[in-house]
Symmetry: C2
Subunit: 695 residues, 2 copies
């Protein structure tokens, strides 16, 4: 290892560092380049001999506040570099171009990475070629465990750095050099959170690796690839992103059968177009539409069963992916309180540690008395908006018939425009309100916060997108209008998506951002790193999942009235894959990705939709005039038809439940692999116990 610039390279404990904060030697400029391929001078020393390596790879950039004093930065670098038993993170830190610059580049030595791999519960390839839960003691029997860049993916290495930094805790009370006394650390305080709130650390984000990014983008979206390089995506961006793109991929392919069915129904019944034309111009002409509605029926039953089959097959695919990516056996960890969490100090009954507590019943009370009514209010506003829209539309129609002037014709568009504006304003306001409501609920863990926020946004989005369609289907009972509305929604949303997701970002990047970011090969690495911090932070996959969910809703809930839905969605998704890939590669900062074993709550949302689809499809079938007529000819009364529909609905739900139970959630070979992983890690544990009993 090289000497550290100045005297930052001490392996001393953080408390030692705190006692002698004012180091006399001023930091000398380190003009060396940080590089992934040469041995990096300026890095802190590693304590463990096995971790000394020829090259140090910059993994994470810590951006400091503008006013941070050099002694604070030196102290921070020492903490990052100190060993874990001295209260440090056992990582490698580099001060950037000099000690007074506002960045710190962080990397991780081998032992820290390996120990964290075991703590996270990642599975890696054993020498028998099987995946097994990694064990630090047994490290030499795992393949590639001497080469971290093959053993762990880039995303994993970067996440481990964040994991170690987030886990930094003060071993005892100490004053941070260069900061006022109000920011004194108490014992067991989370250092990273405290430094964040003190304004010392502005940002912590993983660095892009330009060469890898170039290779990835070429394999992913530059050409006309039909298959996404999912393993590389997992390696570079981590499993949450990889699971999103895998699902997008899987879902897009699974649109092929309904698309073919939809096309053939449209093609083979020439009357379809005829009837559609008529129904658009005059909804009442629907007498001679026999085969179309026969098509409806096939489409409805197909889409009800299709949605369950797709979700079951996705579970199987998802479990194979999580085996492949080694996230099958992730360890449960006791989550730290999230930064925004507050409460009175007390003893946590779970860990026995002093920390802020907030009683459960108080949170429940806040949810029941504040969150639920407010969310209800917004849902009410959606319905109110819809009713006003219908009322206003009737009014302007009336006005137009009465006056029939150019002015009244312009008025005809007013309700739609106003409604669109209203909906957009409402959903923007709602997002802010939902966030502050969830903040107010004061959840202790980040995951609970995320789940409650997701639930709130999900309910609203669902209402916002589907209220009109449900209203038309169940109250107006007007199939042609539903078809018209669905078709226009599909085409519109597709156009809007393409424009907002591909065209605008591309133009912005090409003509506005890019000129400011001109890089030449000769620029120091530090500048390139700093450039990355000008990119906006990755907003998460929330909006992307919502988009897919809404699509899935259109398809499974209402597609029986418009068989071409799947075709339109298929075309949309083929471009969606590319635009999403482009966005995450080029337009945002690289996100940290904790390893995950599946796509989490979203699967449940899709499954719920798949069950609701039975109700809507049976209802739409019941409404279809062809069926009504058929029954009337067969001499069935309305009551009997309804009874039959209810029976069919219950039977279909039963069939779906039975299908969901009968199709195993993981393929047989994955089940065996998983059990093998569990068995071997249990055996390893038993041996360790025996070992420590004997010693």
């Amino acid at each position: 290892m090289s000497k550290a610039g100045g005297d930052e390279g001490g392996g001393g404990s953080s408390s030692e560092a705190a006692q002698q904060p004012e180091d006399k030697t001023p930091a000398e400029k380190v003009l060396s380049k940080l590089s992934a391929t040469t041995i990096g001078p300026g890095w802190t020393r590693v304590s463990c001999p096995c971790c000394i390596s020829e090259r140090v790879e910059p993994l994470v950039l810590v951006k400091l506040g503008e006013k941070v004093r050099p002694e604070t930065k030196r102290w921070l670098i020492r903490v990052i570099g100190a060993s874990q038993k001295d209260g440090g993170a056992a990582l490698l830190a580099h001060p950037g171009e000099d000690a007074s610059g506002n960045i710190i580049v962080v990397s991780a030595p081998r032992c820290t990475l390996l120990k964290a791999t075991e703590e996270l519960g990642l599975c890696k390839t054993y020498r028998t070629e099987e995946m097994e839960a990694f064990s630090y003691i047994d490290r030499d029997n795992f393949k590639y465990s001497d080469n971290m860049e093959v053993f762990l993916t880039l995303a994993e290495r970067q996440y481990i750095v964040k994991y170690e930094l987030d886990g930094l805790r003060a071993q005892r009370d100490l004053r941070i050099p260069g900061l006022s006394d109000s920011h004194t650390l108490q014992q067991r305080d989370n250092i990273w959170q405290k430094l964040g709130s003190a304004g010392v650390i502005v940002d912590t984000f993983p660095l892009h690796n330009p060469n890898k990014l170039k290779d990835l983008s070429e394999a992913w979206y530059s050409g006309n690839q039909l298959i996404q390089p999912l393993d590389s995506v997992n390696g570079y961006f981590g499993s949450p992103v990889a699971f999103y793109f895998s699902f997008l991929d899987f879902y897009t392919w699974s649109l092929v059968p309904p698309a073919i069915l939809g096309l053939s129904i449209t093609y083979f019944s020439a009357e379809v177009r005829h009837e559609m034309d008529e129904s658009v111009s005059d909804p009442s002409v629907e007498a001679d539409s026999g085969p179309v509605v026969g098509g409806h029926m096939i489409q409805a039953v197909f889409s009800m069963l299709w949605s369950t089959v797709v979700m079951e097959l996705w579970k199987r695919r998802s479990s194979s992916l999580s085996y492949r990516w080694g996230t099958m056996h992730l360890a449960d960890r006791f989550a730290e309180p999230r930064p925004g969490f507050h409460g009175y100090l007390g003893v946590n009954p779970v860990t026995g540690r002093m920390e802020p507590l907030f009683p459960e019943w108080q949170r429940d009370l806040r949810i029941a008395l504040v969150s639920v009514p407010v969310v209800g209010l917004f849902l009410g506003l959606v319905v109110l908006g819809m009713l006003c829209f219908y009322w206003a539309e009737a009014q302007v129609q009336q006005l137009h018939t009465d006056w029939d002037s150019l002015l009244s014709q312009t008025f005809l568009y007013m309700p739609s425009v106003l409604h669109i504006v209203y909906t957009n304003v409402l959903s923007t306001v709602y997002k802010i309100v939902a966030k502050s409501l969830t903040e107010y609920e004061n959840h202790r863990e980040e995951s609970a916060f995320e789940n409650h926020l997701t639930a709130k946004v999900l309910v609203f989005t669902f209402f916002n997108y589907f209220a009109v369609l449900f209203h038309i289907a169940f109250f107006k009972q007007d199939v042609p209008l539903l078809r018209k509305r669905l078709a226009s929604l599909l085409v519109m949303s597709q156009l809007v998506n393409q424009v907002t997701e591909v065209v605008i970002p591309f133009l912005v990047d090409r003509f506005i951002s890019a000129p400011h970011r001109t890089e030449s090969e000769d620029d120091p690495e530090e500048d390139k790193f700093r450039n990355q911090s000008t990119l906006p932070a990755f907003p998460g996959l929330f909006a992307e999942y919502i988009e897919l969910l809404v699509q899935f809703g259109y398809l499974s809930l209402f597609s029986c009235v418009y068989p071409l839905t799947a075709v339109l969605l298929l075309i949309n998704n083929l471009t969606e894959i590319r635009s999403d890939a482009y966005k995450i590669c080029k337009l945002f900062r690289k996100p940290f990705s904790p390893p995950v074993a599946n796509m989490g709550v979203w699967r449940i949302a899709f499954e719920v939709l798949s069950f609701v689809s039975v109700v809507t499809n049976c209802w739409l079938l019941l409404l279809s005039p062809w069926l009504q007529q058929l029954f009337k000819e067969g001499g069935l009364t309305g009551t009997n038809i309804l009874l039959l529909a209810v029976l069919v609905e219950h039977v279909l739900i039963l069939v779906k439940v039975v299908m969901a139970i009968l199709i195993p959630d993981e393929p047989d070979w994955i089940r065996k692999k998983r059990e093998h992983i569990e068995f071997t890690s249990m055996q390893a544990l038993r041996e360790q116990k025996l070992h420590s009993e004997e010693s």
Copy 2:
């Protein structure tokens, strides 16, 4: 410790024993009494000094075949007593009255019990008074860990003996002394299974403790107790039995609200009795029954919501019980193949060991092509029987009207009698068929076998008990008939239960079995132990759970037509608790009970019934003439009523789902305790790992 009788008391390894099978010294008669209160001479020696105790408690009786030779018995005793690293079970064995007798009494020393406690994942009280997962290294910090009779319950100690015996495996190929070469053990063969199939071991069962049993039965069913001594039941019989009685207790108490409601409905509407009388004599007179059916409606909505609330509250109660009984954090174990499992020898992909394998697809094929059709056939036979019964009843009615003689009147009872006989024969045959079908499916694990058998019997039982009621409700749509049928079923089944469960066993025990079992205080303990083996084996809780499930079905599915259902069930269950307690205490051998954390699949069966109840109740409400009339007066058409009913059904199902999600499955304090147990056991693990890394 005393000297062992003869030379059985060797701590030598089993392989050693095998090499010198023909011990020359003949076993001398040991006339000592085995006793739980004095130090027991004749027991094998313990290897570990901390386990030497003043008294040895006989826990389990192993009954050998009549023709077992003394050298085989001596070898077996040596294996039981040998330490685990020598391939033994590290237990204590006693040869009974002499070496040639056909029993072995087994007990367990402290260290074996403690190590098994950790392996099973039982929680025990820590010195902080909190429950924590037991850890052998940390044993001194657990309360009472020096007194096994307080630390572990009798049921746990006995189960651990069985667990160790079942886990005995040959360390290498060896011939069992006194047996022919065909019974040679191969390496890793399960010794206990092999000895069982060789006829050496006829039976292994836990011994009753007469004093404790006396105390328990006095506290349980002798007086007029309203509260069951559930902790003592758990201590004596183990958690599966304790969970059954807890559920029975909980369910009986939860019958009080519907019983009160049913009584008040019956009391406040004087017309009820009037209407019932009339409907029994003439089902068509139902015009003036307003308030009754109003009662129906309250009863229906109440019972729909009640069933969900009860099941959710039971989950909470169940989790508190499992915390209290220390079974909250049970370890997963890799189950051994069950004795009946066969297949070709191969490498198990999970454990990497040689053992019989049977491909999954072949089992699925057998289920799909054999089991499903056969079960379907039996369900068809149930329906066929029902249809024949209706047909025959119509025929004899016709005959009676035509002839009107004494002979024809006798014929009137023929269909009922034949149907009852048919049903009973069918269900007896089905039980045998179901067992052999499940055997044919060749499940590897005991639990899979049990689950498949339970599922088969459950489906059939459900069909058998409810097919007639469903037929009356949905096809005949005859509410008065349904009420008549339900009332007679309830009264009949209650009478039959009381007779078969209490009266007959009591009489049999008092007048037939008891005289053969006269014991005097002076009898040697061995004879008392041997007496226990004459009792029939405990048949399991299957039939008891089925009975409760059927009750629950009557109540939640159909009780709205007969409000007194809950009252009748309440009375029945108050005696049921006593008769079940009496049965398990007196009439059967004590069963082994593995620690469990809940009542398993049965909870799911109850929950499924609770959802089906929405469908039946909505339907029965729809049928009620009062509602029909009310709607007719309100000017609603049949279709609209039906639509309303469907809407109500969907809303109620939604409400039940939301309620099930909102009511947490475990109380808040239990959640914290559970998380604390998980946290501390994780911490302990981490420390052990650190320890073994450093050493």
